[in-house]
């Protein structure tokens, strides 16, 4: 008796009956009997067992391997040609241009590289320039731009963003386009000649439009509206540029100024230090002749862009494109690998399923 007793006495009151709550309270306190509140919502209760996962593994394997093979084959069918014209070797035609580079030289240095295409390039050919060891993704570099200036904003033109430092002003005037990215615009000029059987150089027409994203060209980048980009703009050209932004392509007003496609392409910073950027497109002329027949070619380079100082490399790449992009065996191989692993695991699981599942099924059913 003591336990209960002492509890009560600590309560200390001459209390009334130990009574139950009034009837009214009972009703309100009763929990609702809904499926949600009672945690009994109807539910699908899947369990990952060897038995259920097995088919999935086989299916994944069966789908992935053919896709992988398809990707691999189409990647192999892509023609790609790459030539390094940095001029590190003394044997390289561009060696002297690279060695004697000076920011102040007024006469451009031109060099020519000869190369041979073993196989013809059938469809449209895309011409890229590639840079290596160039950190376009360096944080200081990536943020050094002013998107509102590039979008044609008047105030940003006169007063560029602080992010552009130290390429924000020069000689007291704002730089347009400001920032490190714009300042380091790739300015080599590449020209391609086909040398036909009778040793004449035929210029291959290079299309410079359609190399930038449509949305970039038409929405994101805009020339400052009513004022034409000209000298009266009271802006300075980027320090490393040879000509101001309004002279990037004087021949075509639709490709001049901030909406110059070479400029736009450059302004999309690359993800990795080795990258390529689309330079020109060689359109397919007719169905009968290949775009680039096999044979000898000359690449003429106006060498303006120094990369040796930071141990960089410059390349020119010619590539055809399929529905899955350029030459990249990785995706196909990866698909085949993952597919095979799945298939293999499916087999392993099948064995496990056979060996263990029967046991666990028969035994240990709860009483």
């Amino acid at each position: 008796m003591a336990t209960s007793y002492n509890a009560k006495e600590e309560d200390g009151h001459h209390s009334g009956a130990s009574s139950h709550g009034a009837a009214g309270v009972v009703k309100s306190k009763k929990p609702d009997n809904t499926a949600f509140k009672q945690q009994r919502l109807p539910a699908w209760q899947p369990i990952l067992t060897a038995g259920t996962v097995l088919p999935a593994f086989f299916v994944i394997g069966l789908i992935f391997i053919p896709i992988g093979i398809g990707l691999y084959v189409s990647s192999n069918n892509i023609k790609e040609f790459e030539i390094d014209y940095t001029g590190v070797d003394i044997s390289n035609p561009c060696y002297s241009c690279a060695k004697n580079f000076s920011w102040n030289s007024t006469t451009p240095c031109v060099c020519s590289m000869n190369f041979t295409l073993e196989q013809p390039f059938e469809s449209n050919v895309f011409m890229y320039y590639g840079l290596s060891n160039f950190y376009q993704n360096h944080r200081r570099y990536v943020k050094s731009r002013d998107d509102s200036q590039l979008n044609g904003d008047q105030s940003a033109l006169k007063n560029p963003s602080k992010e552009c430092e130290p390429y924000r002003t020069s000689d007291g005037l704002p730089i347009a386009p400001c920032g490190a990215i714009a300042n380091s615009l790739f300015n080599d000029t590449l020209e391609l000649y086909h040398i036909d059987s009778n040793n004449t150089r035929n210029t291959i027409p290079l299309v410079k439009k359609g190399i930038a994203w449509w949305t970039d060209k038409h929405v994101k980048f805009r020339n400052p509206g009513f004022i034409k980009l000209n000298k009266h703009l009271c802006t300075n050209k980027p320090v490393n540029w040879r000509k101001p932004v309004y002279e990037l392509d004087p021949s075509d007003p639709d490709n001049n100024g901030f909406i110059n496609e070479d400029f736009i392409v450059w302004m999309r910073t690359a993800a990795l230090p080795t990258f390529r950027k689309l330079y020109r497109i060689i359109q397919k002329k007719s169905n009968t002749t290949p775009t680039l027949p096999s044979g000898k070619y000359v690449l003429e380079i106006t060498y303006n862009y120094p990369v040796l100082s930071f141990d960089g490399r410059k390349r020119m790449i010619l590539s055809t494109i399929s529905w899955m992009g350029g030459k990249n065996p990785f995706l196909g191989i990866a698909y085949i690998t993952v597919g095979s692993i799945c298939f293999f695991l499916g087999v392993v699981l099948l064995i496990i399923h056979h060996k263990y599942d029967t046991r666990s099924n028969s035994a240990d059913i709860p009483n």
Binding site: M1, A2, S4, N6, A7, K8, E9, D11, H13, S15, G16, A17, K29, K30, K37, Q39, P42, A43, Q45, I47, L48, T49, A50, F126, Y128, F134, Y135, Q136, N137, H138, R139, Y141, V142, D147, S161, P166, A180, S184, T215, K220, R268, A270, A271, L272, P306, D311, S319, I321, G326, N328, F330, A334, I341, C342, Y356, N361, D364, I365, P366, N367
Partner: protein, 1150 residues
Amino acid sequence: VLTPPVRTCTHKCVGEENWVDSRTIYIGHKEPPPGTEAFIQQRFPDNRIVSSKYTFWNFIPKNMFEQFRRVANFYFLIIFLVQLIIDTPTSPITSGLPLFFVITVTAIKQGYEDWLRHKADNSVNQCPVHVVQHGKVVRKQSRKLRVGDVVLVKEDETFPCDLILLSTSRDDGTCYVTTASLDGESSHKTYYAVQDTKAHSTEEEVDSIHATIECEQPQPDLYKFVGRINIYMDNEAVARPLGSENLLLRGATLKNTEFIYAVAIYTGMETKMALNYQSKSQKRSAVEKSMNSYLVVYLCILISKALINTALKYVWQADPNRDEPWYNDRTETERQRHIVSLAFTDFLAFMVLFNYIIPVSMYVTVEMQKFLGSYFIMWDDEIFDEELGERAVVNTSDLNEELGQVEYVFTDKTGTLTENNMEFIECCVDGHVYVPHAICNGQLMPGAAGMDMIDTSPGPEVHEELFFRALCLCHTVQVKEEETVDGIKHGIHQGKSTSFYISSSPDEVALVEGMKRLGFTYLRLKDSHMEILNREDEIERFELLEVLTFDSVRRRMSVIVRATGELYLFCKGADSSIFPRIISGKVDQVKARVEHNAVEGLRTLCVAYRPLTPEQYQEVCHLLNGAKLALQDRDKRLAEAYDIIEKDLILLGATAVEDRLQEKAADTIESLHKAGMKVWVLTGDKMETAAATCYASKLFHRNTQILELTTKRTEEQSLHDVLFDLSRTVLRQHGNMTRDTFSGFSGDCTDYGLIIDGATLSAVMRPTQEDSNSGNYKEIFLEICRNCSAVLCCRMAPLQKAQIVKLIKTSEEHPITLAVGDGANDVSMILEAHVGIGIMGKEGRQAVRNSDYAIPKFKHLKKMLLVHGHYYYIRISELVQYFFYKNVCFIFPQFLYQFFCGFSQQPLYDTAYLTLYNISFTSLPILLYSLIEQHINMDILKKDPSLYRDIAKNSLLRWPIFIYWTVLGVYDAIVMFFGAYFLFDNTTFTSNGQMFGNWTFGTLVFTVLVFTVTFKLALDTHYWTWINHFVIWGSLIFFVVFSLLWGGIIWPFLNYQRMYYVFMQMLSSGPAWLSIILLITASLLPDVVKKVICRAMWPTTTERIQVSLLSLHQSLMVSLRSSVSSIQFQFNFICIAPIHNRSYLRTLFK
């Protein structure tokens, strides 16, 4: 009858020594007559209740300060400030916005709550009260009430402050009060007016009272009060004691009494109710502890990542052409900075870049999960008691998951295991047994000489008569007439009787009622006379002189009555507290009977008496008055006085009362045992009674070997020897069986049950003089306990219960303990244990108020632990692991990217993605999972308690599992990053030859990341309701829609447009789609394989049952398909598996 007035001789009176913590109140603000000693006038606060924390002006600073005192918030504040100060890779918005969001939401919630409190305060403070001023009743606002005001309270009104009852509308100076809002007890309690003032029942009369009250300064204990009133009549002061029976507490309500006059003594924030607002100390769960240690690990990872990158950065930059190539110059100011400051800035920048690995949202999600999740306990239909009309109460939601981790259950016996519904069984006078007719029917009573109402054999008539009168008189039972009580009646009226007994102790009611059945009916207490209707239908009147109330230390109570000139002291109490005080009587026979009854599981009490001479009585009065008037140590003095008075007793006999086991108590205990919990019963009852209950409740089985560690044994041997003996017995057996108690649970090996009593326990716990053994005893005792499946501790004082809990809690394994109890004596252990559970029993609400969770019945513990606890643990452990996992996946690619961007802190993802990843893209699915996941069906959890062992010892948050998740996160991050890397590496990705930039690269990784992380959760989900589908697919769709929108517009408020059309361009490229699919598959593959293989080769019990359920399901479907042609039905069965089918499944199971 009352104590004769004691003449106050100034302050040399009793209990006046060094008494500083007291206050003096002038009733009606009337100065005491000159000549009495001058009291120092004190200043008291007004009656304004301030429960609000903030005012309008200090809300923002105070709330901010409180919020940033939390370590997590402070950490994010620091990160945010760093981002503001230095040039960091990510904008301050990325960490500022989530932090701002969290802080704002919390502030709004707290502000709203505080506004509600302000409103409540105002309505309370402004409610009108009636105050007697100059003989008239005046209305006043409650907040203007002052100490010393005489207040008029009418029926059903709530007391505005703590009051001393002066007079009531009833002649006897009593009033009824319910304290439901204070402690939840809805029963009516009686309070008494001061004797000398109870006649003043109009405002003029009350106004004429000239008195002062001296009392202690306010203290929070609701049930303790000591004070003294000095009444000045004809310049002569009369002092009267005041106790808690005179004190009306603020918050209580006046019932069944027309009006009362009372004087305010504690006001405003000094009332006992206000003092009880203080919150309890916080308990932390094991999950929270492991979460914090994971956090430390991640903080180390974060710092080491930042350090590694900073170091590598400077190694890499040693070449000036790399550091500053011509295309990427530094600014002039940056060039001039010192290398150390640069490096430090870089370190901070890396910290900022990687800080998302510890997300703000985890804290928010965990809090929300706990808060919302606790509703499922309250909502549970099965934890609802129709009879009581009560459902489970959750006082704290911090410990939900701890319910799934319990290893030791400490339970009270009376009211917890048993009903606390007493029934009188028999009594024994000098060895003759009396059994009420109603009970003995059909029962074999071996010791009973007669089956009739009364033992017919010639007994000592005097003792018999005295015994029955003693039981009729020695109690604190009150008689309630039918019409005076509304609603709350206790059903002991049997047919014709119109009145019934109420008491704080069910035992007393049982005894008085038992007497009624034996022919002696206690009628009422009237004018200090107790009236008894004896067998001859004559009314006997006894003058009640003194009541020596019960307390748990003495374990007995006494009354002193005068009957026809003779004075008697009747005493009843526990056998152990009565027998040593006996000088004559048939001790042996009674003792034998008491022990016999105790073995039967009955609660026994002994009754004794002592005739008093008038001289002795005078002495007694003097002793008692001296003690009662003491203001300090009153309890101690009273106890001493009682000790002197209750001696030289003559034994009359003993009683036996039965307390039934609660419904399904045995089943619950068995389940808890099967679930691997050790159940200890801690009771104040005597050993035999408690042991019988333990057998009945299947705590001990027939084949349990009982080890005794009781005073009886230690009397024979020394404690030292007994302990060593026992440990040898246990360990010998133990050596034979497997060490692993969890998997090695089997029925055939002997399991041990230990019985220990309070005295021996304190001997074990006592730091002994011979220090060589002092630590040892505890260790040996623990070792014995560890090997016993059940332990019974009897004769426990409340504090000892807490001591035991603490002893186990702090033993080397640090097991998780749970304490269940229903009475005030269990509060200490409820507060001490990791989880405290209160039973809404008949002994008031003290246990419930102090508990973490409260349930109506003991049997509900089963569902609380086995189902709710299990679920909460599974849910929160997945929540914690998943949160760390998804942030490793999130941040590790960013770390890897630093190796390819010249360690320049270039973020991989866009600001919006960095900000929203944890807030919206991946937050809801895991929150929902952590609320409604059910890895296995509820009914199976209940049916098979051994599943509980699967999650014992925090098994899902152990280091290997944590490392697995982290490694999985790192693997996924590597797959995502290098997958994207090789796809982007120097090649074209589109079918139009155009190139992608770094933001597309990041977006590709991020897309794979969001999908992988969400699918990973989907794979872990075992319970797919429509809400899961909605949230999981919904959040993926939200991500896509957001990305389309974010990249679809030139946002005018942004100073960069880097994401413009990036997502769309990516989606327009075929290889991007293919690589997203590939990378998601590759990321998820190892986890799926691990799961399947583990399940097949090393399944846990849970997994086995899941599988067997599934296969059963399938075989059932095959049979259904053959028998039932309805396609619709099959469809339902496969896809929805409704609950009613599940019960069908269960029957098939067997």
